[in-house]
Amino acid sequence: MSESIHLVFNVDGNNFASAGTASEEVKSKLKMIGISSADIRRVAIAMYEGEINMVIHAGGGEAIVDIFLDRIEILLADHGKGIEDIEQAMQPGWSTAPDDIRALGFGAGMGLPNMKKYTDEFRIDSTVGVGTNVYMTIKFN
């Protein structure tokens, strides 16, 4: 497999029930091509946290995924409100999730820390009022 597998998903910002669909599809793709379950789990968790963040905090967005022989690269791109202070957003426990979202079990402020923990490379570019790009790379062991 010298070429990569390129996948693009539209993440619907208005549908909580379908949140996670992109991550679930990537998970089954990785399973199909024989990636280890430990690596798949890291990818699935990191991508789901990013996907659900786009739904909750940015009104949806796009997930662009490239799978290579030795790694997966994920870009989560949205045109939401952006993140004012990325360092603060990365703090475990920091959350601006409203009460109705907390009632669903979100808002612990652990999503971004989880994404950092489970990835090998992690970067956020964000501009207030323009949107947020989250870049993640996970190397297959």
Partner: protein, 109 residues
């Protein structure tokens, strides 16, 4: 220990069982979904009172083996529909989380 063993140990109601032979090696208790994603080990039983549709996505993606709804909580309609489509194991127990975990731990040993 299997899903079947947990059902017996907790005298639990079967909400939906996709594979009652699935092996369970540990447990995790909590309701904040990102705590679950960050800390629950693969192949665990997850004890929670959260019953919305996102519970299934979290459990599936984190390779959790069994969802244990405590305090007699039932899944909401969206969650029930999704676990049936995805084929996920869900049970409900009248026990509170503490007592459910105690009974589970006794059976696990």
């Amino acid at each position: 220990m299997t899903v079947y063993d947990v059902i017996k140990a907790l005298d639990a109601e079967e909400i939906y069982i996709a594979d009652d032979g699935r092996e369970i090696t540990s447990g995790y208790a909590g309701d904040f979904l990102s705590h679950v994603m960050g800390r629950a080990p693969a192949d665990c039983a997850w004890f929670t009172i959260m019953n919305n549709v996102n519970v299934c996505a979290v459990a599936t993606l984190a390779d959790i083996a069994l969802i244990v709804l405590c305090e007699g909580v039932q899944p909401d309609d969206n969650l029930l529909a999704k676990v049936k489509i995805q084929g996920f194991n869900v049970i409900s127990t009248k026990l509170d989380i503490y007592n459910a975990v105690v009974a589970f731990d006794r059976a696990l040993r």
